[in-house]
């Protein structure tokens, strides 16, 4: 299908909105009526037609507006995009991976023409038509990682692999859930995960690292993560906490359905062949509570998950103060009926709300 791109904002007047198509394909992250950390990895090779899992790099109706927002963030704060000197080859790996994937997965939107090292890249939605020499960064307007991530939704952590660990040595991070690339740059896997509660004690990170170190070429993986965001903000960074943190106090019972958003990250992992690095794209999807409630199954389940979440997690995810108000709102959509297993909304088979 041809995507109708929205003209919208993720700041100031917050004109961001999801179409019915976008709500239906929203990656709801809870496969059952409760939530706890797990190493919930699976292979990233396609998924149901039209779902966000189908393509290697999902492109949706927010593409053009998200790229406009990224350009604004980078103009204000160039340190959101950094690449240590040894990571340039990994940047080319990423450029190659994205250009090949998008031109194969969306031939109507993106074209890649390769003649030896001379590459021509056409990005129709963004109006780009560039010819450059592969592996020669003087022929691009930015470094290879910055060039391609200015044209691809989601944050990108480009990790070096050495000494049995992964190192956050490059990335473009403008749509993050309250963490900072500038703070984490050069850290290893355990260092950058240090702030996460409960998971260390459960040995989650040792197992996750082992899994990631063994991700091989041709066999990418994925998982979902989630948090809560008031207003459809992409840039919830520590650098700008003074701007967005205070917005969490603006929720009222009247506006919570429209203002409170479930923020879901589709995290994928690809081995980078020329550098032997690993890229970790973190794609952010936002959906307002009132839009989520149009799917009866998600209404029932979200209420139960938020209600039963351990205090530590609700605190870490930043919504402990607003949880009572959320529950007042969400309980209206929970009639106590059982829910079907799995994350998909099952709109046609799940019963309508019985109250």
């Amino acid at each position: 299908m041809t995507i109708q791109f929205n003209d919208e904002t993720f700041r100031d007047d917050y004109s961001f909105h999801n179409s019915d198509w976008a709500i239906k394909r929203f990656p709801f992250p809870f496969h059952e009526d409760s939530y706890m950390y797990a190493v919930n990895m699976e292979q990233h090779r396609g998924g149901p037609e039209g779902s966000v899992y189908e393509k290697r790099f999902d492109v949706d109706e927010h593409y053009i507006s998200e790229m406009r927002d990224r350009a604004m963030v980078l103009a204000d704060d160039p340190l959101r995009c950094q690449s240590l000197p040894h990571m340039t080859l990994a940047g080319w790996d990423l450029l190659e991976l994205i250009m090949v994937s998008k031109s194969e997965d969306y031939p109507d939107l993106f074209e890649l023409h390769r003649d030896g090292d001379t590459w021509r890249w056409i990005n129709k939605p963004l109006g780009i038509d560039d010819t450059f020499t592969f592996l020669d960064e003087t022929t691009l307007p930015y470094g290879p990682m910055e060039y391609i991530t200015r044209q691809t939704q989601g944050d990108f952590c480009v990790l070096d692999q050495r000494d049995g660990n992964l190192w956050m040595d490059a990335g473009t991070v403008t749509t993050q859930a309250d963490w900072s690339l500038d703070f984490d740059i050069g850290m290893n896997f355990f260092e950058w995960h240090a702030p996460v509660p409960l998971a260390h004690e459960k040995g989650i990170f040792e197992r996750a690292l082992k899994f990631l170190l063994n991700i091989q070429q041709g066999a990418p993986a994925r998982r979902l993560n989630w948090t809560m965001t008031v207003n459809p903000l992409l840039d919830t960074s520590p650098e700008n906490y003074h701007k967005w943190g205070v917005q969490k106090t603006t929720l009222t019972p009247e506006n919570i359905g429209a203002k409170q958003h479930l923020r879901v990250e589709l995290q994928t992992f690809f081995r980078l062949p020329r550098s032997n690095g690993l890229v970790f794209p973190i794609r952010c999807y936002l959906c307002s509570f009132q839009d989520l409630m149009t799917m009866p199954k998600w209404g029932r389940r979200l209420h139960r998950v938020v209600r039963d979440l351990p205090v530590e997690l609700a605190t870490y995810k930043g919504f402990i103060d607003n949880r009572p108000m959320m529950l007042d709102y969400l309980s209206q959509f929970d009639d106590g009926l059982p829910t079907s297993p799995g994350i998909f909304p099952d709109f046609d088979t799940e019963p309508a709300l019985q109250k």
Binding site: H31, E42, Q217
Partner: protein, 328 residues
């Protein structure tokens, strides 16, 4: 998305290939070149990567890892060089005797357990014998990016100096050859002494050489993180032994000339693996109970883990004794 963590798959993704060249290099070593059967290009790879070659030896599947030694920039052809091991379990003999141009084989996607540290300001390669193969690809990769490297390569005799002529011709100032039969030896202490800050050293060769390089570098104050090595172990023959596979509810016997991993696979039980040489950790298996002695040969488990009797790497390690039960 499912919730359960996924079981590791056995092996990397596979590629069907045709053998396009078989080039004897000397009495012991032959190069095999492959192109994809579907006519596509191979995936790019990084210097130091290996592929696992599946050999169909009269119905018996042999899976051996070999370093990719072709230029990583050439995506039309992958090449490996195989040293014939007359005392081994037969994989290299099969390659030498049975594989010819036009044959169809299956290899895996590249897996790299011996990659360049791209932060290094200089790369010093130490090769012994057939250990030259990963460095052939690393050198080609570094030459494309004007990398700073030098090679010190010990061979038994000039006649067995695999790729010596090619390397000397292409890189006369970077390649240093040492022949055992002429009593030439790498003067490692002097070599380490003269290196600039930010140098990384890489060694690939026999176990004795690897241990010698690690010990000498460590004694000279080199950080462990700057010293890299790769030694693929071939499984060694041993007395047959019996194993109970608890999860699959099967009892198997590991033959004299097969590995525990091969015996598990032969019984139709799926077991994860990547390198089949004791390095990658993928086949790590929990021991449920045992009465006997483990013959641990891997580089993956720690000494404490070896001593604990709780884990075994079935690709290279064996067991001798009354009974062994595995969580597989």
């Amino acid at each position: 998305m499912s919730a359960a963590p996924q079981k590791a798959k056995p092996g990397a993704e596979k590629i069907a290939v045709n053998v396009t060249a078989v080039v004897p290099l000397n009495d012991l070593v032959t190069r095999f070149e492959f192109q994809r059967s579907d006519g596509d290009l191979f995936p790019p790879f990084s210097g130091g990567a290996h592929t696992v070659v599946t050999m169909d030896d009269n119905g018996r599947h042999r899976l051996n890892p070999y370093s990719l030694m072709s230029d990583p920039a050439d995506l039309t052809t992958y090449a490996i060089s195989v040293r014939r091991d007359d005392e081994g379990r037969g994989g290299s003999l099969f390659m030498h005797r049975n594989v010819s141009v036009g044959d169809r084989m299956t290899i895996t996607y590249p897996v790299n357990l011996f990659s360049l540290d791209l932060r290094a300001r200089k790369h010093v390669f130490l090769a012994g014998g057939i250990g030259i193969t990963p460095f052939m690809a690393m050198i080609a990769q570094l030459e494309h990016s004007n990398g700073n490297w030098e090679l010190h390569y010990a061979c038994r005799t000039p006649a067995l100096g695999t790729y010596v002529d090619e390397l000397r011709y292409k890189y006369p100032n970077k390649v240093h050859i040492y022949y055992d039969d002429q009593n030439q030896a790498i003067r490692l202490e002097d070599l380490l002494d003269g290196q600039p800050l930010g140098t990384n050293i890489y060694v690939c060769g026999p176990k004795g050489m690897i241990d010698w390089v690690h010990a000498t570098a460590s004694a000279a104050g080199w950080p462990d993180a700057n010293v890299h090595s790769e030694e693929f172990l071939a499984p060694q023959p041993g007395e047959p032994f019996e194993v109970r596979l608890c999860k699959s509810d099967k009892t198997i016997t590991v033959g004299e000339h097969e590995s525990l991993l091969e015996a598990i696979e032969r019984a139709g039980v799926e077991a994860p693996f990547l390198c089949r040489g004791g390095s990658c950790g993928q086949c790590e298996t929990n021991v449920v109970s045992h009465d006997g002695t483990f013959v641990h040969r891997d580089h993956w488990l720690t000494e404490d883990q070896h001593a604990s009797g709780e884990k075994i790497m079935p690709c290279v390690s064996r067991f001798a004794g009354k009974s062994l039960e595995l969580d597989r």
